[in-house]
Subunit: 393 residues, 2 copies
Amino acid sequence: MNDFQFQNTTKVYFGKDQLGHLHEEVLKYGKSVLVVYGGGSIKKIGLYDKVMKELKENNIEVYELAGIEPNPRHTTVNKGAKICKDNHVTSVLGIGGGSTIDASKAIAALTLADTDNIWDLVEKKVAWNNALPVLAMPTIASTGSEMDKSCVIANVEKGVKSGINGDILRPKAAFLDPTNTFSVSAKQTACGGFDIMAHLFDMNYFVNSDKYPLQFNVVQTLLRTVREQLPIAIKEPENYAARATMLWAASWALNSFCTSGYKTQAQLHALEQFSSTYDMTHGLALAIITPKWMTYLLNKDETVVDDFSRFALNVMGVKDNGNTLENAKAGIVALQSFIKDELHLPTSLSEVGINDEKFDELKVKACYGQDALPRAYRSLSQKDCLNIYKMCL
Amino acid sequence: MNDFQFQNTTKVYFGKDQLGHLHEEVLKYGKSVLVVYGGGSIKKIGLYDKVMKELKENNIEVYELAGIEPNPRHTTVNKGAKICKDNHVTSVLGIGGGSTIDASKAIAALTLADTDNIWDLVEKKVAWNNALPVLAMPTIASTGSEMDKSCVIANVEKGVKSGINGDILRPKAAFLDPTNTFSVSAKQTACGGFDIMAHLFDMNYFVNSDKYPLQFNVVQTLLRTVREQLPIAIKEPENYAARATMLWAASWALNSFCTSGYKTQAQLHALEQFSSTYDMTHGLALAIITPKWMTYLLNKDETVVDDFSRFALNVMGVKDNGNTLENAKAGIVALQSFIKDELHLPTSLSEVGINDEKFDELKVKACYGQDALPRAYRSLSQKDCLNIYKMCL
């Protein structure tokens, strides 16, 4: 069992009536804030007005950066940091999905760095070790960026998604109000929910080392809880308990507790090169890939049977038929029909208009240019990745 | 569902090879430390020497307070604070069980307070809002004081256990090395483990409000994990995985995550007035009381049936016989035999030499002088408490 260190300092304000604490958090660091958001959805649900009222009534100087893209562009980050530098802004508040919060973290770091281009930090051309304080207000249960210390940014010119990370980027405070997620569409709810599951699969449940019983059992419980509550959130978008569960689960899937003790490389997230290449939704690409990845592994490597059988029984609720291989197969079937029939998501690349044209390029990216990912749950070569992509067609 | 706030800033160093980080943590706050410990057990296992070597090799000025009692006396706390005041000590390191870490917190607060008597803080006669930084090194899986913000101190003259709490008391860092718990006796391992379960029962599992599915499922998983791993830790004291699980479970049972959203008053801990009155082990008293409390509630109040049935199936592993009342009863039987046959603990007060002499006094304490605890899982009057005590004889 590996030693580990765990610390997560984010202060979480959870619930319907916590917005009144926002000014306290902003004023801890100064008198101004850059509010970062995406399209108009936070205006449509009235959240924008409430936030502005809360900030302005407390005499906070407010700057704004709207239009953060679903895979946030590095050029947009650069724009945000320029606003902060020009106006000596003292904090950054990201309101929206993971992309918005990730962009806010990148802006926070770039503002105090000795360059105007975030990509210099990503490529380590410019050293950095400081950042403006980040505050986060997620409006979708998905990446868990609100309690996490990393961010992912897209460089469209280079066709690459990459990022920076450091404890200083972890939001000082996060405002998690389930009602802010009520208006998220069924499809985006499903994609966000699957992203949560993929985080748990990738680094915490399908691991390549000794398991800590406590973390392992908790991760399994989180997975099962998401599997049970996500369809409710899709069917009943204003179900407070289901929305609250998804929102809190998103944070816990990525806030370092679940990974404590594990050093497994994320394989599904490595295989998921489609969202940066085709600008498709990350969680959807993961939902297409995951069952195929499991099927491929099960055919290739019998050492996964016990893990996949456990997944079938304890996460998917498959009835034990006494044979672990049969259980494992039934678990994959159950996952596939969960995605199709309960999440109502496409289950192949062709359904979303993607063909094999770029597979040779993507398989290289999936292994980060190496022959394989050596520390993944099971090492897969570039050829294995290509085979999995073909199964996804 | 209640709104809640969650933050836990403690940095955890978990594992066999983390002691080398101790000097970094001490030196963050100054150049000296008061090392607080109990009897000789940390010397017997060699931990004392290792800690002293680590501190002295890094030129840290070391002061010591040995002899912290199992229920730490307020007079001992006063002594510790005097050492810190006299020598301008800059941090406090508690090495031992919950009592030692609790005493360290109290010393840390008293050192910066305007009195020499911790009981002035407990009784709110003297206001306080600051404390020396506390570091914690638990040597038994039990109270979880290492990630928690409160402490309990005994005033033997008054026959009262009470405490203080505040975010400032939460340890800055905690060193959790499962090997430091290898030499804990079977009985103390059992008592510590039951204390963990009681924390989970009391504020997180048997609650009087809407359940958050995520927290509830995780608490249930923690309970089941402890139920499974504790007997292993007792039978195989050097089983690293079992000891690691117990140690980490202790922290999580009390680090605010599990309670987030709940406002239930701890009833088992209220009923447990024996450890302060008779100086018996807290976890043992809880193990005697818990099954009787459940039996009493089940007879008195049918609204507990579903909760107790769920406990039976999901925590104790009882086979569902299709009738929730029968399940509930079977769960209590299973808990009672778990305590007797797997934890090897006494199951009645008479076995530990306690009679009904002080019951009338204890029932008042159990309700904190009120008629009942109104926000407990189920409100119990003083008379109810007396009845439960009688069942414990």
